[in-house]
Symmetry: C2
Subunit: 228 residues, 2 copies
Amino acid sequence: MSTVPESLQGKTIAVLGGTGPQGRGLARRFALAGLSVVLGSRTAEKGEAAASELVAGLGDAAGAVSGSDNAGAAAAGDVVLVVVPWDGHKELLESLREQLAGKVVVDCVNPLGFDKQGPYALEVEEGSATEQAQAVLPDSTVVGAFHNVSAVLLEDPEVASVDTDVLVLGDEREATDLVQDLAGTIPGVRGVYAGRRRNAHQVEALTANLIAINRRYKSHAGVRVTDV
Amino acid sequence: MSTVPESLQGKTIAVLGGTGPQGRGLARRFALAGLSVVLGSRTAEKGEAAASELVAGLGDAAGAVSGSDNAGAAAAGDVVLVVVPWDGHKELLESLREQLAGKVVVDCVNPLGFDKQGPYALEVEEGSATEQAQAVLPDSTVVGAFHNVSAVLLEDPEVASVDTDVLVLGDEREATDLVQDLAGTIPGVRGVYAGRRRNAHQVEALTANLIAINRRYKSHAGVRVTDV
């Protein structure tokens, strides 16, 4: 049974970096919700291979899943998620300016470093990955979201409900509403508006805390906003 | 009935900036849990007045509450919470180095700015208020905590249970364990270890997001960590 809300009906969701655990996990959940998904990767072959692998694990009710290179996925998507490593984030988006123009681009990237003491937030010249994306893509509407969702839970077929909120950051109401709807297609997940792009940094950086929490508590921690 | 855990028995909790809503609210909950609390303020008169006002609203089971200036409170406390405005944070702590030496200092301060577009995180030279406190107080053990707890809920006598987690940040296990225990004295609250001091910035800054959430949803938002 499709759980696709009206705002997303007929729309294709592209996932750039769709072959990493986070991208694969999100693509899987969107497809399970009945959405059409295009996985983007560095090469079309890799994107297609990831799509074939993903499709094999889904039932008949799932939306169509295909693979492409990142440029092809960016062109095919109505809503385009960016789930690539921080290293190379800016260059990739610069190369896709045309394909992403006029679209809602959802930046899911966490600029983090790791050393002997564990994870920490990197400084970003533009303030955050989300703000960097908007600076590089002036003709797109950039929303920050899906920073704190455990890839392990998203990918686990035994996990029916992913018990977490997705904090959605952006300056354009129509776009943040759409991304909240998108988050809500994942069972157990709720999209919560959490401020403007200029307040994205701390939500990206909070992933360092969640990793520290996971190490201490052997958990797959997420965040719920209370009283909302 | 006292809910004071063993680690905090016989200990006095000082709250610097105990006359603002957040400080008053925390002091109120700690006293209700049976802890001895000293409210610090800019002058002893203000501290004493705030203590008298607070005591009037508490039952017989509450811990002792007294007031002082910030220096007196810092000297009296075994655990000292810093709940002062960001403006003046560094100068106050510099002036209390002696009183705070050898103690656990809990920094609760959120360096935030506000403009027409709402709240935003300020840049802090040391990285965060918590790291600034540790830099200024080399002979104290600084823990960051209580950044995201609604003062409105803490102060409301109708609110029996404050439905939120307190993210506790620090590099010394004994101190973070103690502050987790302290958080747990507030009904409904759970102290969760959330990383080292160098990951405090984003937890402080997250308060800007919670304020944005409160404006959108007319809520008193807090944060729960899932799967812990």
